[in-house]
């Protein structure tokens, strides 16, 4: 048993945790068929941890859904498997290749795998009849996210209409939807990147090893460091270099860059982030760099 609180104050991290747990329980109570969109990245792992706390000692009252791009890092997949096994969670994997075969998405050779995730995801949500899908989006990530609700309504086509958002007051969430529609739920809305790292540090949460500094063969391209691999080979006079790097986000291998770093544990990462001068998406996500409004467009179509 733990000690009495003398001042009855909760730290901001405890307040965020309490709010997120509240959201998880509210969704589990009010929605018929929720699902947690799991990418294997740090944000979705923090979501899993919060869900674990919300329903303990019960198992999660919803399955996990992962969109497999076929280009995921091995380290991410092995961390995923270890979490799924420990929690005894049910895992649904929707692959882009299956979605292409089913005609949900078209591979025209120009569209990135990231963009093809949208059709794959919406196909899986419709096929399983999910009515609520938890996502790890945070409002501090990007302009289009700053106006996102915790409960974000999606129409029959899975689209987000920023002008049709419902007002969200107090902690009273409105989960009403019509048949065929679904709600995206963002329990981490009020967390910042730094909060996520503080929480991973405090809770000793297992995350993929590529988040920590390690030696890797990389190529510098368009100002990003990309990891050498089957899809990424030097072009023209690009040089392959061995560097100490870590990933700040984990998307697909062809789109996600890494940053030079010496941070080999969570405390060192927190120090590094606290003085980082480039946003995590701007630094390392090729998919967000094409246009200033890239995220806004993808969200409207039904992105995570």
């Amino acid at each position: 048993m733990t000690n009495t609180h003398v001042d009855y104050q909760l730290s901001q991290l405890d307040q965020l945790e309490a709010e997120s747990i509240h959201i998880f329980r509210e969704v589990a109570a009010e929605f018929e068929k929720p699902v947690l969109m799991f990418s294997g990245g740090k944000d979705s792992i923090v979501m899993l941890r919060l869900a674990e706390k919300a329903f303990f000692p019960s198992k999660l009252p919803f399955p996990l859904l992962q969109v497999d791009t076929g280009l995921d890092f091995d380290e991410v997949l092995s961390t995923r498997d270890s979490w799924v096994e420990r929690l005894g969670a049910r895992m649904i994997v929707a692959t882009i290749d299956e979605a292409i075969a089913a005609g949900h998405v078209v591979d025209d050779g120009k569209t990135s795998r990231n963009r093809m995730q949208i059709g794959t995801l919406l196909g899986a949500i419709e096929e399983h009849g999910f009515t609520a899908a938890f996502g790890g989006g945070r409002r501090d990530e990007e302009k289009a996210r700053a106006k996102e609700r915790v409960y974000s309504h999606r129409d029959d086509f899975g689209q987000w209409d920023p002008k049709m958002q419902r007002p969200e007051l107090w902690s009273l969430y409105n989960g009403r939807i019509h048949a065929g529609e679904h709600m995206r739920i963002f329990p981490l809305s009020n967390w910042t990147e730094l909060d996520i790292w503080h929480y991973i540090h405090r809770e000793q949460i297992e995350i993929p090893s590529i988040y920590f500094a390690h030696e890797r063969e990389v190529i510098e391209r368009d100002g990003m460091l990309l990891s050498l691999g089957p899809e990424i080979q030097p072009k023209g006079n690009e040089q392959v270099e061995k560097k100490m790097v870590r990933f700040r986000t984990v998307g697909d291998r062809t789109q996600t860059g890494c940053v030079e770093s010496r941070a080999t544990d969570t405390a060192a990462i927190i120090d590094e982030i606290a003085i980082a001068r480039v946003t995590e998406r701007g630094a390392t996500r090729g998919d967000d760099r094409f246009s200033e409004a890239a995220m806004e467009d993808r969200k409207k179509e039904g992105y995570f």
């Binding site: 509240h22 000692p57 419902r166 107090w170 902690s171 405390a267």
Partner: protein, 433 residues
């Protein structure tokens, strides 16, 4: 406490343990609100290089003489194309002592709906006025809404002081005018600060231009305003959100009532009553994840175990036998109406109050409140979009409610259109019977 953060030598590690201030900003583009928020973000070093570079290059391409900080909080492309701000945007920054969440609401179109939304979770409201204009109808309206939403702390920032030659007289005049107006409102704590958002005076750094001003800078006030005592730690209110029954061999008899504490303190051995049934019991233990905790208080999300095998489900409330809300089906409330189709007597809606959902019928619209003059229009027959009025409701299920002035969680509700599923109203309870 199970969740006490680990300590570290690094100063940046302190962030996990610091506290949180949520504040709502109100004011129009002309008052310099976006510039002020940009300034707070920039001076607290919450702006990243790539964001600042984008804003600098846009400023240059638009032919500005200086970097337009307002562009930092610029919203969606669809808004820029139409030159409007759609609704509440949330911004984040932190200083070594506090993390801040700003609910940034536009001052013009849909102002009431957006301000009410932003203010509903705010500890502090920041109202901006242009020193040259003084108090406007809009700034009075913002103060009225913040007061109605019971935002406990208010800051009146008198901006563009550089354009009135840092005149103490101008500051004093606006200060006096506002204080006189505020006597009609419920504003427990007021701070009036002369600033220049554009130049940064008295925002983070104390200005040399205002030697006559001895109060805090805006940032200092935001960092130090005392919000912990705004919560109710006396009247125990625990709305049951979810019943945890693992039905596994390891936890065969486990039956926990999960929820977020809305008021008071819950601890082992407390005599409690479950509402609306009125069944008495005792708290057997309080847990947070896999740890037993000595006490639970707002806003902790915990799991409560009772000694007796009483029937408890979602929507019920755990309170104390001699301090419990009376289950009420006749509700007297202030309602902010948020949709085009007006609210009318006999209208039926879905109502969500804490974790309880039912239906409500409008019995009477007593008056419409003019948020500019505070005049009560008693001849009104309906409430239009962005209007606020006093309304009597009859509900199908009893609400376990308190006056909003006593508890912002158990005193609030939302109204939902049953056909469209859209949130159409926000309610603040005066009383229930």
């Amino acid at each position: 406490m199970a969740s006490t953060p680990q300590t570290s030598d690094s100063h940046t590690m302190a962030q996990g343990g610091m506290d949180l201030l949520r504040f709502a900003t109100a004011g129009s583009v002309d008052d310099g609100k976006s510039t002020l928020i940009g300034r707070l973000l920039l001076d607290s070093k919450s702006i990243f290089e790539d964001q600042l570079e984008a804003v600098e290059s846009t400023s240059v391409s638009k032919g500005y003489d200086y970097t337009d900080l307002a562009l930092l909080t610029d919203g969606l492309r669809s808004e820029r194309e139409q030159g409007i701000t759609i609704d509440v945007a949330y911004r984040y920054f932190a200083t070594p002592t506090r993390k801040f969440i700003i609910a940034d609401t536009p001052g013009h179109i849909q102002y009431t709906r957006n301000m009410v939304t932003g203010a509903s979770t705010a500890d502090l409201g920041l109202v901006l006025v242009d020193a040259r204009q003084g108090l406007t109808e809009q700034s009075r309206r913002h103060a009225v809404l913040l007061s109605l939403l019971r935002v406990p702390h208010l800051v009146l920032a008198i901006n563009k002081m550089d354009l009135v030659d840092w005149s103490e007289e101008v500051y004093e005049k606006i200060h006096r005018e506002f204080t006189t107006f505020a006597t009609k409102l419920n504003i427990p704590d007021l701070e009036v600060i002369p600033i220049s958002a554009l130049q940064g005076d008295n925002v983070v750094n104390r200005s040399e231009n205002t030697p006559w001003y001895s109060g805090p800078t805006l940032m200092h006030h935001l960092e130090h305003v005392h919000v912990a005592s705004d919560r109710d730690l006396v009247d125990t209110r625990f709305p049951v959100q979810y019943v945890i029954r693992p039905k596994s061999d390891a936890y065969h008899d486990f039956r926990g009532y999960a929820g977020q504490v809305a008021g008071g303190v819950l601890k082992k051995g407390d005599e409690v009553v479950v509402l609306p049934s009125g069944m008495p019991s005792k708290i057997a233990k309080v847990e947070l994840f896999d740890q037993e905790v000595a006490e639970a208080f707002p806003p902790m999300s915990v799991t409560v175990h009772l000694e007796d095998d009483v029937d408890v489900s979602r929507g019920d409330m755990i309170a104390r036998p001699k301090n419990a809300p009376k289950p009420s089906q006749d509700i007297d409330a202030m309602i902010c109406w948020m949709t085009n189709e007006p609210l009318k007597p006999r209208q039926k809606l879905a109502i969500k109050h804490t974790t309880r959902t039912g239906r409500a019928m409008v019995k009477d619209i007593q008056y419409r409140l003019d948020v500019n003059s505070l005049h009560r229009d008693q001849d009104t027959k309906e409430l239009g979009l962005n209007e606020i009025g006093r309304v009597q409701l009859r509900t199908t299920v009893p609400l376990l409610c308190d006056p909003y002035s006593k508890n912002r969680t158990t005193g609030s509700f939302i109204l939902i259109d049953e056909a469209t599923g859209v949130t159409v109203g926000a309610g603040m309870i005066n009383s229930g019977s």
